[in-house]
Symmetry: C2
Subunit: 253 residues, 2 copies
Amino acid sequence: MSGKGGVGKSTVAANLAFALSIKGKSVGLLDCDIHGPSIPKLLGIENAPPEASQAGIQPIMVPPSLKVMSMAFLLPSTDSPVIWRGPVKMKVLKDFLGQVRWGELDYLIIDLPPGTGDEPLSIGQLLPHSDGAVIVTTPQDVALLSVRKSITFAKTLNMTVIGIIENMSGFICPHCSQEIPIFGSGGGEKTAKELGLAFLGKLPLDAAIVESGDEGKPFVFFQKETATAQAFFDIVNRIVDEIEKKHEQLRRR
Amino acid sequence: MSGKGGVGKSTVAANLAFALSIKGKSVGLLDCDIHGPSIPKLLGIENAPPEASQAGIQPIMVPPSLKVMSMAFLLPSTDSPVIWRGPVKMKVLKDFLGQVRWGELDYLIIDLPPGTGDEPLSIGQLLPHSDGAVIVTTPQDVALLSVRKSITFAKTLNMTVIGIIENMSGFICPHCSQEIPIFGSGGGEKTAKELGLAFLGKLPLDAAIVESGDEGKPFVFFQKETATAQAFFDIVNRIVDEIEKKHEQLRRR
């Protein structure tokens, strides 16, 4: 989750789910951005209609073992907006959790829309025992402001915060190789420290990531040799470690 | 408005309002992003508490003639999230329009949160005779996807679309001066043409804009000699022209 839009939540969610799936885990990816679902576009599965039967809705399968559900699959066209108020959205999110045939999963990754309104509130209430929230931010002050809101939100709902990812952290000019901090750099790490939270890692602002999203080819697979993908794998490992640490603590109690 | 978050809606809204105010107009700026209000931060008026009396809420005055209202003014701290569902938000937006002492205005600029949910829907219904919506986008496909949703949304609500602004369009490396299309370039203009809408102009991805926002110093005033500010003034003039064209047509009827 994140308080601010456009920080890379969906890109992180799609690549996190894909990376776990490559590691051999059974993974579900639920796109809870009802108004602006972008997960199907990022995974190149925009034109995949999910099948519904009496047994429930079948999620879209992405090899090797990723199951995806999104509002985008249910719209007549990509131009169609979802002009809904909160209560209707709450109902759909409930169905996405309860009526979709997820089967046995190791991980369910949920991509939330920005803010602290109906969607994150519904998910927090419907899944009180989730492993927690990964907060994505960019380094500029305006974004960090909303990180603090997201963290207070998580606390209010008794939701664990797994940690913070700093996205769009610095930019390397492809022509002269100099680093340029367009949105600043280091703000996410500083905020994590201030709030006593795990810092999960940084991802650079990278035109190749934008392109991979537009082409529907997750960079953790299609550009796996790049420094950006390597940085992302480190983040995935840290997330898994944090979750296992939490489970270990729960077992000891 | 825009379907996607993080495309620069608030930066555009704040600088548009400020630019009109510099031109001698009486301008109101209403921040309708209840969960992630950033207008006060962008204008450097975060610590200004609005006064409320029986006559209504007094908006915050920014010289020369800008009146600002935002949820941020009403929160106990910048860390406080607003954990509200739709119906409560609808009530607050109604008060922001009806209970705030805007006085006589030439323009009321409204900054909407991303998407097509409660806030844009409420504003569309509460202000059926607005001059219309300015759509802000970035050039990558994922953003353009949501532009089309916003436009269908506007049509559904009988709201005029004034035109499209393409933000973060190309980046000039400060070291080697080469242009790098991080988020692509030209996608906003192409989409405007395809949909038969006015293209209002492009703004580059500019670290100076990010910094001006973090410092609360609108670039149309504090960096008015730069190419970016000049590009923005052209956009402001085009918006004013489009609105006047519309009024002219209404008068002739």
